[in-house]
């Protein structure tokens, strides 16, 4: 092959390799991108982190919203995990509290992480949690139990067509990850 053709070939190959690497990176970039899209759209009913209110809570007493609480354990999670109440009827804007209860019946110390999920998904944006056990991990010794309060405000901006929403908590056993993290710390 001639030199000129060689150079052209190399140049094209280099561009294509850049594209390959770029797309590989893009594959990973989809992960944070997905989280951003979830935050904006409430895709998959993910709720945001801790909410800090800039203005005092003013309840909109003209309407009520029913919020339902589900508690579940993921596979292999032996803890008892339940809610004090199945549902609450609240006004948008007011600060509410509900208690959850967890107990570790196993004979070893375990660590749990709870994952919230909201349906309908577009209500997730209007559910603000000022305090939630899902922001932290819980570590309980064998037989130990814990009362876990959760405080939340439903945004006054919540669309009129949402009259009820469901907040589901799923508890996962992360004892393994937790110990390996500690080991590496």
């Amino acid at each position: 092959m001639s030199e000129e053709a060689d150079i052209r070939t190399l140049r094209t190959v280099r561009k294509l390799l850049f594209a390959v690497v770029g797309m590989f990176v893009f594959g990973f970039a989809l992960v944070p991108l997905y989280d951003v899209i979830c935050d904006i759209t409430g895709l998959n009913g993910k709720t945001a982190g801790q909410y800090v209110s800039s203005e005092p809570a003013v309840a909109d007493t003209s309407r009520t919203i029913t919020i339902q609480f589900l508690t579940n354990n993921n596979a292999g999670m032996p803890w008892e995990f339940r809610t004090e109440k199945r549902a609450m009827t609240v006004h948008p804007g007011e600060l509410n509290q509900i208690d959850f209860y967890a107990r570790n019946p196993a004979d070893v110390t375990m660590t749990a992480q709870t994952i919230p999920s909201v349906t309908p998904y577009y209500a997730a944006r209007y559910l603000h949690k000022t305090e939630c056990f899902c922001f932290d991990q819980q570590q309980l010794a064998a037989g130990e139990d814990i009362e876990m309060p959760m405080r939340f405000i439903i945004d006054r901006e919540i669309p009129a067509d949402i009259k009820s929403l469901t907040l589901s908590y799923t508890m996962f056993d992360i004892t393994d990850q937790h110990t390996s993290q500690q080991a590496s710390d």
């Binding site: 589900l70 354990n73 596979a75 292999g76 199945r86 309908p120």
Partner: protein
């Protein structure tokens, strides 16, 4: 005649289709209309888009067939010269766009209706497990809720061809969902382990059950009857063995059923307190075992190693009672062995543990009382 013979296949092919239809009947080859307003709208949409495809198909395939019959070299035709025509190309780009836009309108309306799950009368949490469903009828008061597990009723002998197959082969369950007709029922769908999919064709409801997330679907069933569905997302070996059965009944029948379920729960609570004999535990244990354990550990207890270990002569079944209870009640993290604490009541747990220790020649001779299980579960409090 010659031509007809060579092109017999053009006729043979639609004939094949028609014979397929005739062989089974139209209802057996088409989507079912179902028993909800939504399912009928879905069916209508399906028929519209299907008809559009048939019409386009007749035109396109018709043109091809005419061309194949008439524009043959053997007929002595000379090929034409044309190889593009902007006008006709624009036409056959624009017409499909118009058809699609027209199609999109009813599709959008139906989809929006399917997505509005507010104002429900009854909320049922649906939870997919490998390989069964658990249903919880939610109530303001968690103590009054009804929760039960729904297992495949068809016994392994039938799918292992050792017994004749029943009419509802692989589609029947021990504990069906019961709902009243003409009430808005909301399903809150989630999963315990892997992704499942909750599907009832007659309601046009299909929602993936995803561990850690909850999604909702709703239905209003208009006709009383028994409706059957299946898990629609590959969830492991026994994906094909976790059907869904819904009984839609009149309101009073539903109320009676709810009452009966609550009484049953109470009865179970009371039976926990009584002293069980070995015979009672073994009889109940065998029933519980076959429904909940036999899919993996097999009816003969020998399992399917390495995924599903044998229970005969090895492991906790012939080890310490406390270890055995721990495995069944709490499960084994990181394996397919799940926690049965919330899936079985204390009496069932005691029975199945006793059964496993004494069946298949394990003959440990010991038993555990439901009371003891109950105490252990509540113990550390």
């Amino acid at each position: 005649m010659y031509k007809a013979k060579r092109f017999g296949w053009l006729i043979a092919w639609p004939l094949l289709l028609i014979s397929g239809v005739a062989f089974a009947g139209w209802d057996d080859v088409n989507m079912r209309q179902g028993v909800t307003e939504i399912s009928r709208r879905v069916y209508e949409l399906h028929m519209i888009i299907f008809s559009v495809c048939v019409v386009i198909g007749v035109v396109v395939f018709g043109a091809m067939i005419v061309s194949m019959l008439m524009h043959r070299k053997s007929l002595g035709v000379k090929p034409a010269e044309f190889h593009d025509n902007t006008k006709i190309e624009i036409i056959w780009t624009v017409i499909p766009i118009v058809i699609l836009v027209v199609m999109a309108v009813p599709a959008t309306i139906t989809l929006s209706a399917m997505y509005d799950a507010s104002d429900s009368d009854i909320d049922i949490e649906v939870r997919g497990y490998q390989w069964k469903w658990q249903y919880t009828y939610l109530d303001e008061d968690p103590a009054k809720e009804i929760r039960f597990t729904s297992n495949l009723l068809t016994p392994p002998e039938e799918y292992n061809n050792l017994a004749p197959k029943r009419e509802q082969y692989l589609l029947d369950v021990d504990n069906p969902i019961v709902i009243p007709v003409n009430k808005r029922v909301r399903f809150l769908v989630t999963a315990e382990d892997v992704i499942h999919s909750f599907w009832i064709p007659d309601f046009a409801v299909k929602k993936d059950a995803i561990p850690g997330f909850v999604h909702e679907a709703w239905t209003v069933v208009e006709e009383p009857g028994i409706y059957r569905g299946q898990c629609a997302e590959l969830c492991g070996a026994y994906h094909g063995f976790m059907p869904i059965e819904v009984h839609a009944v009149e309101q009073d029948e539903y109320d009676a059923w709810i009452e009966q379920k609550r009484t049953e729960a109470l009865a179970v609570y009371e039976t926990v307190g009584k002293e069980w004999t070995m015979e009672e535990l073994m009889a109940e244990g065998e029933r519980v075992y076959l429904q909940n354990c036999a899919v993996c550990h097999q009816a003969n207890g020998e399992g399917l190693p390495p995924a599903f270990p044998s229970l005969v002569g090895v492991g906790v079944s012939v080890g310490l009672m406390d270890d055995h209870i721990d495995v069944v009640v709490n499960g084994v993290p990181g394996s397919a062995m799940q926690s049965f604490r919330s899936l079985l009541n204390p009496a069932e747990l005691a029975a199945v543990i006793t059964y496993e220790r004494n069946a298949w020649g394990n003959d440990m001779g010991d038993l555990v009382q439901p009371m003891e299980i109950n105490e252990m579960i509540e113990a550390a409090q």
